[in-house]
Every structure is written in structure tokens, then in C-alpha cells.
């Protein structure tokens, strides 16, 4: 108090902001607002620009592009039905397999099967799977997965060749190795999201099931998984979206063959792989337009699936809030 002089006011730590600080504050807020708007506009810009580039091809080929099977740049014939088929089939197989492995892993990591530190270690290993670049998985697929798959697949083809799924031999690249590597690549996504969903299930539900004499797996299958199913569905849909857009591993493993075959071992093609393989050598504007059209279809498919995934995830899981303990009957 005694030290209070004319300079004291500026020495106080707490004081009202000066006009300059208020101005800086306002400028900063506007900067963040503009950046936020920019990042929102970016998504629209991506859609619009790709659509604009695709316009010549859209006008020329129309909806026929999506159902036609031919891709012949020399004759100016373009169709992406095999690519759409390959994209959907490979990502469905990948997401299905990742669902089995991912949910099993998520259960294994949350339901107290192993000590905590082991749970953390396994979790880190699964997370690191996501860190390996796609192109390295492609390389690994060529030199490890395909040689490992070839004998059993060709045995299946030899003995059960009449079955449509095994109707061609696995020469080198093909749909099955590509789908398997896809599965590995989306496994971390599926595991992480379903793990969070399962961990978020109210422990009271689980304890109630145990209390009624359920075994561990009766509890998991009857209570825990149903209560966390929204998160699990969401993880699968987001994994599917990721799989549909996955490029490099597929470009290296799927075979870039413009065919529709029911066989798992046949080479196939996906939209993303088509872009990766054909874009660098696209010569004419029409070529480029057709590729942009394919890009637009891929964009529409992935946006659709991702929006669906976000919407599923947004809904609150049922059974999250238990009946209050005091209200228990009998």
C-alpha cells in the first residue's frame, strides 16, 4: 500500500486490457475465424474442382460411364464398373475380416484377459500398424503375402475349382492378397474405435450380468457387445470408408485388371488403384476427364460412407445410463 505511486497501476499484474491488446485480440479472433471458414470451404472446393474437371467426361459419357466395362483410352471408351465392383468387394472383405479381428482384439484388450501392461503393449502394436505407410504394405504384400498365399489358394483352386470363389488360380497379384492387406491397414481404426466403445459400457451392466451367474462370454456376447454395438458399427463403417480410399497397397497388389470375376484369386482393380496407375500417364484431356470422373465417383462413395459412419457414431449408445441403484425394485 505504501509503495503505491503513479507507476503502480502499470505494475499490477491484474489490469484491464489496453486498447491495443483489445485490437490484437479482435484481429486474432478474426484470423482464427477466417481459417476455420477456409478449412470448411476446402471440402467444398475439393468436390467442386474435381467435379469441374470431370465435367467434359460427364457430359460425354453420362451415367453410362458407371455401368460400362471397357477402359480403352485409344478408342476413347471409358467405363468403371469393374473398378466399382473391385472397390466394393475388396473393401467389404477387408472390413469384414477387420471386424472379426478388430472386435476380438478390442474385447481381448478390455475384458481383463491379460495384465494391464500387456494390454498396453498389444494396444501399441496395433496402433503402430497404422503408422506403416501404405506403399510399404504394398511391398510387403508382394514379397511376403502373395508367396505365402499362393500354395493354399492354388490348392483350393485345384480341388474346389468348380466353386465360383475359387474359379481362377492365384498367379501373383489378385483380389485376396489385396483384401488381406487392406484388412491389416484398417484394423487399427476398427480396434481403436470399438475398444473405446466397449470400454465405455457401464461396469454396472457387466457386474449385473456376472451377478446373475452369467459366464464371461455370456456377459460379453449378451451384454457388453450389444451395449456397445453403435460404436462397433461405426468403427466398421469408418473402416470401410478408409478401405475404399486406400490406394498404394491396392495399386501394387490388386492387379489392375479390368475384369469382373467372382473368384477371390482373380486380378481385379479398384477406383483408387485405377487413378494411381493411369493418372501419371494420362495424355489427352478426355483421358484426364475420365479419370476425374472416376475420382468423383470415388469421392462420392467415400463421402457417403464416411458421413454414414459419423452419423452412426454420433448417436448415443443405448444402455449407457443405467437405472439408478436406489430405484432398484424388489
Amino acid at each position: 500500500m505504501t509503495e503505491s505511486t503513479s507507476t503502480a497501476e502499470s505494475e499490477h499484474i491484474a489490469r484491464a486490457p489496453t486498447a491495443r491488446e483489445l485490437g490484437a485480440d479482435r484481429a486474432f479472433k478474426w484470423a482464427t475465424r477466417i481459417c476455420a471458414a477456409l478449412s470448411g470451404v476446402l471440402v467444398a472446393l475439393i468436390v467442386i474442382l474435381i467435379a469441374k474437371q470431370a465435367m467434359p467426361a460427364i457430359l460425354k459419357y453420362g451415367p453410362h460411364f458407371v455401368v460400362s466395362k471397357k477402359w480403352d483410352a485409344g478408342k476413347g471408351q471409358f467405363g468403371i464398373l469393374p473398378e466399382i465392383f473391385g472397390t466394393l468387394l475388396s473393401s467389404a472383405i477387408g472390413a469384414g475380416a477387420a471386424g472379426v479381428f478388430g472386435v476380438a482384439t478390442a474385447v481381448f484388450l478390455t475384458e481383463g484377459f491379460i495384465p494391464r501392461w500387456l494390454e498396453h503393449a498389444l494396444q501399441s502394436v496395433i496402433t503402430l500398424l497404422a503408422a506403416i505407410p501404405s506403399v510399404v504394405y504394398g511391398l510387403w504384400g508382394i514379397f511376403v503375402v502373395i508367396p505365402a498365399l499362393r500354395p493354399p489358394c492354388n490348392w483350393l483352386h485345384g480341388h474346389f475349382g468348380w466353386f465360383p470363389l475359387f474359379s481362377t488360380p492365384l498367379l501373383s497379384v489378385g483380389l485376396l492378397p489385396a483384401s488381406l492387406v487392406l484388412m491389416i491397414m484398417i484394423l487399427p481404426t476398427v480396434t481403436a474405435i470399438s475398444r473405446d466403445a466397449i470400454a465405455a459400457v457401464d461396469p454396472l451392466l457387466r457386474e449385473a450380468a456376472f451377478g446373475m451367474g452369467a459366464t464371461r462370454w455370456e456377459t460379453i456376447l449378451g451384454v457388453t457387445l450389444p451395449a456397445s454395438r453403435r460404436g462397433i458399427y461405426g468403427s466398421l463403417v469408418l473402416g470401410l470408408g478408409r478401405a475404399m480410399g486406400e490406394t498404394m497397397a491396392l495399386a501394387m497388389l490388386v492387379g489392375s485388371a479390368n475384369v469382373i470375376s467372382p473368384s477371390l484369386f482373380s486380378p481385379a482393380d479398384t477406383l483408387a488403384a485405377l487413378l494411381a496407375n493411369k493418372f501419371p500417364e494420362a495424355a489427352s484431356p478426355l483421358d484426364l476427364g475420365a479419370l476425374m470422373y472416376a475420382a468423383l465417383v470415388l469421392l462420392a462413395l467415400t463421402l457417403l460412407v464416411n458421413v454414414a459412419g459419423e452419423l452412426v457414431m454420433r448417436q448415443r449408445p443405448r444402455g449407457g445410463t443405467p437405472v439408478s441403484a436406489t430405484g432398484a425394485t424388489k
Partner: protein
């Protein structure tokens, strides 16, 4: 009282208690089912971990053969030629990731600050948040298509700048969302105290929130760097490839590790295949450093915020 049968059983139960019934026996179908499911679950979970080790082992086994000073200082070998290195690809990768970071880090930080602090509940915020989530799911090749139809067509050439724009788009949502989350986890009492002392909101962000949330923010940046360094697809037709060192004139096709791996993986020559593996080893090493660093930081960030809250 409507179930006299169960009542009578209940009354007689203590007398008939069979201790063998209480034992955990695999001969009972329910227990057996539970046991088998546990085994199956464990097998599936452990199988899920196999690919990582297989990839790492292959990288070390096939890639280490080429490790040496030449790997970092020489140019990639032409078809059928012996020797060589991947020096230009390493330089190219560093450069394009730097371009991507220069675009996405400032933008991502500012957007994250807007979402967490400036107007978290507004309409713009929810739109931006939704867009960021959609961008996370954007196929990387489409980021490349976008960069091609903007930068490459505008400048008329393939360049690290175009590659950087594509990578920036992929890195942006990661930085945005992790920054938002990190800022939100800061205790609101610190915020209130600073505002109560007359700090403006931007001063609170710059002097209180960002330093406190630094581990979380850095996690996002590291994860984004890991993602950017590993991406190949968008570089295929934005930056393409070059067999030579980057000249002083930066706007030209440039090599990158990722595209080198892709190109050489299809090569019939053993020497080039070996370089594909060696480049993979280097690339995975870089990516894992960022990624593991990010994980460690995020664990520390979680511990920090836990300590403050408790």
C-alpha cells in the same frame, strides 16, 4: 407366490447343495464354450499383431543389406546398374513434408483454437468439425487429384509445392482435431483465472492454454508429420519422380522415398528391389520416430491433465 414350484426348490436347496456343481469344470457346456471363446479371442488378437512384426523383420532382413553411407549420399541406380543410393529421395521427402507442414500446421493450429476456444458451440464450429472429420476420411489419392487440378494445372509443372499442398490437406484435419482436444483438456479454472486478471482471450490462448496443452498439440503435429511422410499416392502425379538431385530451381519434378519404393517394387532388377526395401526401412524409421514420439507425448499429456484434474 405365483411360482410355488420355485419356492419349494428354494426351500430344499441348502440341504441338497452339491459342491461338485460349484466347481469350474470344462465338462459343462457353458464353461467349455466360455473357455473356447477365450482361446479363440486370444488367438485372433495375437494374430492381429503378427503383421507388424513380419513387416519390421522383413525391413531389417531385406533393407539392412544396403545400409551405409552410400545409401544417403548417392543417386538411385538406373535399371540394371550396380550400386547407388537414395539421397535425392530423402531430400525430396523432407522438402515436401516441410511444404506440407508450412501450410497445415499454422492453419490447423488456428482452426483448432477456433473450435476449442473462440466459438466452440457456434454453427461454423460444428460445420468445420464435421468437415475436418470428413477430411480425415478423404482418400489420399483425391488430395493428389485436388492438388493436381489446382497447383499443377496453374503452374504448369510438377513440383514439391503441389505435393506439399496435397500432403497439407491430409495433415490438416489431424492437427485441427488434436489441437482442439488438447486445448479443451486444459482446466477451465486456469482460463477463468487469466481472464479474471484482465487477459484478453487471445492472450489466454497464447500464454496459458498453448503452453499447458503443448504435449497434446505436439502429438497432433507429430502424427500429421508421420502421415505426411508416408503418403505416396498424392505424390505420384503432383511431384512425380526424378533421378537427379534437386536443383536450386525448386519447382520441378522431385524424388521422394515413397514414390521410389513404388517404382522400384515393380522393377525386375534385384539391385533396384533392394533399394525399395532399403528406402522402406528408412521411411518406416522416420515415420515410426514421429509416430512413437507422438504416442509417448500423448500418454504424457493424458497423465498431465489427469494430475491437474485430480
Amino acid at each position: 407366490m405365483t411360482q410355488p414350484a420355485s419356492n419349494s426348490v428354494g426351500a430344499h436347496a441348502p440341504a441338497k447343495l452339491d459342491l461338485a456343481l460349484l466347481e469350474r469344470s470344462l465338462r459343462r457346456p457353458r464353461t467349455l464354450f466360455s473357455f473356447c471363446s477365450s482361446v479363440l479371442c486370444a488367438v485372433l488378437a495375437l494374430l492381429a499383431a503378427v503383421p507388424l512384426f513380419s513387416v519390421l523383420l522383413m525391413l531389417i532382413w531385406r533393407g539392412a543389406a544396403r545400409l551405409g553411407p552410400a545409401l544417403f549420399t548417392q543417386l538411385p541406380p538406373a535399371a540394371g546398374m550396380p550400386g547407388g543410393g537414395i539421397g535425392n529421395a530423402i531430400v525430396g521427402t523432407v522438402l515436401v513434408v516441410a511444404f506440407g507442414s508450412a501450410l497445415s500446421i499454422p492453419l490447423g493450429l488456428l482452426v483448432g483454437i477456433y473450435l476449442a476456444e473462440i466459438n466452440p458451440d457456434g454453427g461454423l464450429a460444428s460445420v468445420v468439425r464435421f468437415c475436418a472429420k470428413l477430411l480425415t476420411g478423404l482418400p489420399s489419392i483425391l488430395a493428389g487429384v485436388f492438388a493436381y487440378s489446382t497447383v499443377v494445372l496453374l503452374t504448369g509443372r510438377f513440383s514439391p509445392l503441389a505435393g506439399g499442398v496435397a500432403l497439407g490437406i491430409l495433415m490438416l484435419p489431424i492437427i485441427t482435431l488434436t489441437t482442439e482436444e488438447a486445448l479443451r483438456s486444459v482446466d477451465s479454472e486456469m482460463r477463468d483465472a487469466a481472464i479474471g486478471m484482465g487477459a484478453t482471450q487471445s492472450e489466454v490462448v497464447a500464454d496459458i492454454l498453448l503452453p499447458t496443452a503443448l504435449p497434446g498439440v505436439l502429438t497432433g503435429i507429430l502424427l500429421a508429420l508421420a502421415r505426411g511422410a508416408g503418403e505416396t499416392a498424392p505424390l505420384l502425379f503432383t511431384m512425380t519422380f526424378s533421378d537427379y538431385w534437386l536443383s536450386r530451381h525448386v519447382m520441378e519434378p522431385t524424388a521422394s522415398l515413397a514414390v521410389l519404393i513404388f517404382n522400384f517394387s515393380k522393377s525386375p532388377f534385384d539391385n533396384q528391389k533392394q533399394f525399395a526395401w532399403a528406402a522402406s526401412l528408412v521411411l518406416v524409421f522416420i515415420v515410426l520416430i514421429f509416430s512413437v514420439g507422438g504416442q509417448i507425448l500423448s500418454r504424457r499429456a493424458a497423465k498431465l491433465s489427469g494430475a491437474i484434474h485430480s
